[in-house]
């Protein structure tokens, strides 16, 4: 038998370009020595000894890297503004409050290579003139928190953090702040409120964080993955980095590939890779011979991309133009068994739960949208409701205070755009084509039935009648659609219709 023995030889890895994940799964994250052996902290030394502040800002600008938290703001421009704004005290913050359902890119980086983030924060501090950094990390990531703590301590002992780093008169320190579980705290302004010890709620922009951030001081806030790229950019140079990706979006993006796909896992690909390549070549396609229906990117802020858009290249602008977004990197694949109304409802329900309630469009609007979706899923919807969903969605997008509200309608609007026929089937035919929405489906016994009575025995509400060796019947008025009969049937005679 000849098989590939090494991870390096399988398609899944060969198609990837690992920059942010370079050390993940290769070094022991709890030993700074191993990071140093992988050229760790050389980027910081290069910044201090060779590049200088201007040089660092130039390199990050020229690299073309954009924020990996999802919005895609050019990191170099953010750092430049941070350096230019006047202030005796400035801050660096790392946003590690990864909360999208199905997303775990940042967790993997923090657990696998915490020093890359620490080194990058020190470089950022040096470039903009900050002496203090905070990592705001979810309390639900205990291993990441533990390894970050160890890494910060080791960096201190070695002199990569603390006073007079490399004898160059540069001081920098990092503190951890644990999130308390609110999704909205991943939003920059709410995150800052939370670090300050207040309730984590967004505040209006402007003023921008870069001028009036943490404790009203100039603050540069970047995502974990953005930081993880920085040491490589500084070490290998902006020219090298800018060769990867597309004209407008340089470098790579890490995605957490999940859902109805053969190879679930973390993938890091050059920006501009066709979506089809990620799903079929890397992800290995859809399991059990099922048909691809859609892929959801960007979590509760993103949208569903249908089959006819599979050939798009993955970048910030293209995804936005088709009603989704890059987001932090969740990528959930759906097959023919997923109901798009149900998917929209799932993500909207998440946003309703997580809305902080400060602004009316998000607090009330998303709730109203959810009520309409529930109505449709239960077969009580009208075509008018679709128009209402669209106009509500647009209004919420335009008028919400922060990114959570501005993007919350996306899953609904994108499914309405590409899967309107499924909504209409729920409304006009009172059917859920995927067989998911319980109120709209009935369990029916087909003529395959051998009359064994197995279904009758497991039915918790006695909805099934029929004599031995005769065809059985399910009374839809009594049936609670639990599906127990279907599981119990030895000849697959019971179907959802």
């Amino acid at each position: 038998m000849s098989v590939n023995h090494s991870i390096l030889d399988v398609e899944y890895i060969k198609k990837q370009t690992r920059i942010a994940l370079k050390n993940c799964g290769v070094i022991d994250p709890e030993r700074i020595e191993e990071y140093i052996r992988k050229d760790g902290y050389q980027a910081l030394a290069k910044a201090l000894f060779t590049l200088g502040k201007e040089g660092v800002l130039d390199e990050v600008e020229k690299s073309g890297i954009r924020g990996r938290g999802g919005a895609g703001f050019p990191t170099g421009r953010k750092w430049r503004s941070g350096a230019q704004v006047k202030g005796d005290v400035k801050y660096i913050i790392c946003n590690a409050d990864e909360g999208d359902p199905g997303a775990f890119m940042d967790r993997s980086i923090l657990e696998g290579d915490p020093h890359s983030v620490i080194e990058a924060m020190a470089i950022a501090g040096y470039a903009i003139g900050a002496e203090k950094g905070f990592i705001y990390v979810r309390a639900e990531y205990p291993i990441a928190v533990k390894r970050l703590g160890i890494a910060i301590e080791q960096a201190h002992e070695m002199g990569f953090l603390g006073k007079d780093i490399f004898g160059q008169g540069f001081n920098f320190d990092i503190e951890l702040r644990l999130g308390a579980g609110a999704f909205v705290c991943g939003e920059g302004k709410a995150l800052i409120e939370s670090i300050e010890g207040k309730r984590g709620m967004p505040t209006p922009k402007p003023p921008r964080t870069i001028q009036h951030g943490l404790w009203n001081k100039p603050t540069v806030l970047n995502n974990v993955e953005t930081f993880a790229n920085i040491p490589q950019i500084i070490l290998k140079g902006s020219e090298w980095y800018a060769k990867i990706g597309t004209e407008k979006s340089k470098g790579t993006k890490v995605f957490a590939l999940g859902g109805k796909i053969n190879r679930t896992g973390l993938v890091e690909i050059p920006i501009g890779t066709p979506l089809r390549e990620v799903i079929y070549d890397i992800g290995g396609g859809i399991p059990n011979g099922k048909k691809f229906k859609a892929v959801q990117t960007g979590g509760p802020s993103g949208g569903c991309i249908p089959v006819q858009e599979l050939d798009i290249k993955i970048d910030y602008e293209t995804l936005q133009s088709i009603g989704s977004m890059m987001g932090s990197g969740g990528m959930i694949v759906m097959d023919e068994d997923n109901c798009m109304v149900d998917i929209a409802r799932f993500f909207l329900e998440f946003s309703v739960d997580e809305s902080c309630g400060k602004c009316t469009p998000c607090r009330e609007g998303t709730k109203k949208m959810l009520e309409l979706l529930e109505k449709i899923a239960e077969g009580r919807g009208t075509l008018d409701d679709l128009e209402k969903l669209e106009s509500l969605g647009e209004t919420i997008k335009d008028t919400s205070l922060c990114g959570l509200g501005k993007s919350a309608p996306n899953p609904v609007l994108s499914t309405l755009r590409y899967f309107r026929d499924e909504y209409e089937a729920h409304i006009i035919d009172k059917k859920c084509p995927a067989g998911v929405c319980k109120a709209l489906l009935n369990y029916v016994v087909t003529d395959k039935c051998v009359g064994c009575g197995a279904c009758k025995k497991v039915c918790p509400v006695n909805a099934i009648t029929g004599d031995k060796r005769e065809m059985h019947l399910i009374n839809p008025d009594i049936c609670i659609k639990c599906g127990a009969c279907q599981e119990a049937c030895p000849v697959d005679a019971i179907i959802k219709k």
């Binding site: 098989v3 023995h5 399988v10 799964g25 070094i27 022991d28 140093i36 000894f49 291993i143 973390l266």
Partner: protein
């Protein structure tokens, strides 16, 4: 640490002191690996190596290797520079890998990533 040179010298020293002259086994111990059962796998590796009195082998933890569906997994870095990825591991299989691969040098094809992918 006062200069770039100090850092490069430290790296050199660490390279010299490293375990590169030994067979290294890296176990994926991120949240994903641990929840799939990587800790008992790691313990079994250590136990078996001790039992067989193998001295040229070290077992280490690492972060997420990246293939969720095949956890727990570990990789064997051999002295010839080759890298063998064992997937979907459990304590029993891990011990078998130590006996066959580490002790006798026979890679167990059916447990490697190629057999699953």
């Amino acid at each position: 640490m006062k200069s770039f040179d100090d850092l490069l010298k430290l790296k050199e020293k660490l390279d010299e002191q490293s375990d590169d002259d030994k067979i290294q086994i890296l176990v994926g111990l991120a949240t994903c690996g641990i929840s799939a059962g990587a800790k008992p796998v790691m313990e079994s590796l250590i136990e078996k190596i001790k039992e067989l009195k193998l001295e040229n082998v070290v077992v280490k933890q690492t972060g997420c290797i990246g293939i969720c569906r095949l956890e727990p997994m570990f990789e064997v870095y051999s002295l010839d520079g080759s890298r063998t990825t064992y997937v979907d591991m459990n304590s029993e299989k891990a011990k078998e890998v130590v006996e066959q691969h580490i002790l006798k040098g026979h890679v167990i094809d059916k447990y490697t990533i190629g057999a699953y992918d």
